[in-house]
């Protein structure tokens, strides 16, 4: 498998005032292979979201190098929007759906803005909606949909540009267990089709769907575990054990 994300010596410092700095990340080294499902866990303020933002070009590291799909960020800096469009799909904790647009427009937004309306995009949006069980909502507005439906709309929007990497920051929020399971099954099926998934979560159950779990504490990777030949239950127990060790 080829390496799709490679981060070496990544550090991130936030400036509070002239003399005070907060070290959000310190000397992070990660290599993520294409088609892998990686989960990042850690307590609040451990640097999970910062790490995800840096790995996906949303934020810049203070130190270190980043390579995505074999290209360094320096090489991409003039066409980052193209790079994001071709490679990345994001699902946010806050979903960020736009209330003034229909579900169809929300899902197709990046494509509509870049290339305008076309039949293949139209068909693909319908296909995605069918896959995620939201085909009946396409011409409704997000405010008319339930929390679980909105979550699926956000996932569909992240997938509309056929991304190689799907990034999800706390993708299941406060959803009920049945919806959570349905969404995680969607993630698993996408992963089986070859999409690399990078997910941030606090939940050990969600993490048990991944191939590999990284545990972050005070901006450093303090533990790492791969699923290997474990069953999901064994993997879940192992993750819970690690989290307990780090008081999560």
């Amino acid at each position: 498998m080829t390496t799709i994300i490679k981060a070496s010596g990544i550090s991130k410092q936030y400036k509070i005032d002239k003399t005070t700095f907060v070290q959000a990340l310190e000397d992070i080294n990660i290599e993520i292979k294409q088609g892998e499902f990686v989960c990042v866990m850690g307590a609040s303020g451990s640097g999970k979201s910062t790490l995800i933002q840096i790995l996906t070009t949303i934020d810049k590291p203070t130190k270190g190098t980043l390579s995505l799909d074999g290209r360094s960020k320096l090489e991409m800096q003039y066409d980052l929007s193209d790079f994001r469009y071709q490679n990345l799909g994001f699902v946010f904790q806050d979903l960020n759906l736009l209330d003034e647009y229909t579900v169809f427009e929300n899902i197709a937004l990046p494509v509509l803005m870049r290339d305008g309306k076309n039949k293949s995009m139209n068909d693909y949006v319908i296909q995605l909606a069918n896959k995620l069980g939201i085909e009946s909502l396409l011409y409704k507005y997000p405010t008319e949909c339930s929390g679980g439906e909105q979550q699926r709309i956000a996932i569909a929007r992240a997938l509309v540009n056929h991304p190689k990497i799907l990034v999800a920051d706390e993708p299941t929020g406060n959803l009920d267990s049945i919806t959570v399971k349905a969404i995680m099954n969607v993630f698993r099926s996408l992963n089986q089709e070859g999409t690399t998934i990078l997910m941030v979560t606090h939940d050990s159950y969600l993490a048990s769907y991944s191939d590999r779990m990284l545990h972050l504490k005070s901006g450093k990777i303090v533990d790492e575990i791969a699923k290997q030949n474990r069953t999901q239950e064994e993997y879940f127990n192992k993750i819970t054990e690690i989290n307990s060790k780090h008081n999560l």
Binding site: R84, Y85, Q86, E105, R114, K117
Partner: protein, 442 residues
């Protein structure tokens, strides 16, 4: 085409949110129209006033302006420049409303050009409609003003007049304003990191790079120096030493005031933190509102103090001349209103950033009544400082004029009264809206 359609759909949805921007844009267009009239059209009707001291110079008004450059024309040019720059604050207000959309577009891989097109198409219908309505209203005001001025000077009113130069300059200035907005849009989108836009949207954090002019100190200094040098050159060339002195005096005092706010007043208010009221509100008095807003607004207060001082100087200087006094009063009103409205926009933009801090106040048990009280006291303190700072130089002028007997106490009270009413209206509008913004999400 899809970008345009999406922008228009978004605008239709946000009609209420853009109301204040629309009204401000109408005001700006009326103001621009009046200023252009004073710049270009001044000579057209002044020729018809018998015995007017400049009339001997008038062959055509362009010659008139280049030869004499009266203080009112010079102030109009200065004001025009300030008006276009002040559009920035209304624009910033609108931009921040769009931050969520911009973040979603950028993360989805939409390029800067398309986002700029989206924002521009979003703003174009409101801006253009407001400009057309404002310009038409402006022309009506100009005719009305002509009529009033002729009535004051007891000259024969020549009827409705259209100056082609005035119209041309107005259109040109509005065009420049549109270009300025395109540059601003591009600057906003290009300079802000996605992370900042996202954090602003989710947590109410500051858009650190939004304040292009405020943060770019060398650019600002160079910009001000070039502007001042240009005005001084024109004034001295035109032989108008009085205007040159006024602008130099106002600028010097404005710079001293800026230092006063930044280095003396703000540190003093910081110490208020230790007072009983500060403790009662868990540190939000004199910190969350007053200091941060003084820091954010001192550039605007600086502009306000210069325009206010200049307006006062003109009124005092021309108090015995009906024509120039009328023009001075109109320019004084335009100048102070424009900056007062801009300060209002800036305060309301700050309210959006402060949501999170006010939320903390709710969490520690403060009631809606407490929040209202905090906003009321902080806003009063802020506006009293604005009032005092901008009145320092006019008070010196008033004092000297009262001593010389060139101004009456009544006129002085009227000028300060008008300014106080403007600030009072701003107080009530901002207080109500600030509370609404802070309260909504909590």
């Amino acid at each position: 085409m899809e970008t345009v359609r999406l922008a228009l759909k978004s605008l239709k949805y946000d009609t209420k949110k853009t109301k204040s921007y629309f009204l401000f844009q109408i005001f700006l267009s009326i103001a621009i129209c009046l200023c252009c009239h004073f710049c270009a059209d001044f000579g057209t009707y002044i020729q018809n006033i018998p015995g007017y001291e400049y009339s001997v110079f008038i062959i055509n008004h362009v010659y008139f302006i280049s030869q004499t450059f009266p203080p009112t024309t010079m102030f109009s040019i200065f004001l025009l420049f300030a008006l276009v720059m002040l559009g920035f604050y209304a624009f910033q207000f609108i931009y921040q409303e769009q931050s969520k959309k911009i973040a979603v577009f950028r993360i989805g891989g939409v390029n800067t050009r398309k986002i700029v097109l989206f924002l521009f198409m979003y703003l174009l219908p409101i801006t253009l409609t407001a400009m057309i309505v404002g310009t038409l209203l402006g022309f009506i005001f100009v005719q009305l003003l002509n009529y009033l001025i002729f009535s004051f000077s007891e000259a024969i009113y020549p009827g409705i007049q259209f100056s082609t130069d005035g119209i041309a300059i107005t259109i040109m200035i509005l065009f420049i304003q549109m270009i300025y907005y395109i540059i601003l849009t591009y600057g906003f989108v290009y300079r802000n990191e996605i992370k900042d836009v996202l954090n602003y949207n989710n947590n109410g954090n500051s858009l650190s790079n939004v304040r292009i002019l405020q943060e770019n100190k060398p650019f600002r200094i160079i910009f001000t120096l070039i502007g001042l040098t240009f005005i001084m050159y024109l004034l001295i060339k035109a032989g108008n030493i009085l205007s040159a002195n006024i602008i130099l005096g106002c600028t010097a005092i404005g710079i001293i005031m800026k230092t006063l706010i930044k280095d003396i007043i703000i540190p003093i208010i910081t110490k208020i933190k230790r007072t009983k009221y500060y403790q009662k509100t868990n540190g939000y008095f004199g910190y969350s509102f007053t200091i941060s807003n003084l820091v954010r607004s001192y550039g605007l207060i600086f502009v306000l103090s210069i325009l206010y001082q200049f307006g006062v100087c003109l009124i005092v200087f021309f108090k015995d001349d009906a024509v120039d006094l009328s023009i001075s009063v109109v320019l004084f009103l335009i100048a102070t209103l424009a900056v007062v409205i801009s300060i209002g926009f800036q305060l309301l933009t700050a309210a959006k950033r402060k949501k999170k801090e006010y939320f903390e106040l709710f969490r520690i048990g403060k009631t809606n009544r407490d929040i209202k009280s905090i906003i009321k006291y902080d806003l009063s303190l802020f506006l009293i400082i604005v009032f005092l700072v901008s009145n320092i130089f006019p008070l010196i002028t008033f004092g000297r004029s009262l001593f010389d007997g060139t101004i009456t106490l009544g006129l002085m009270m009227v000028i300060i009264g008008i300014y106080s009413i403007e600030l009072l209206v701003l107080y009530f509008i901002v207080k109500k809206n600030y509370y609404r913004i802070v309260k909504i999400d909590n």
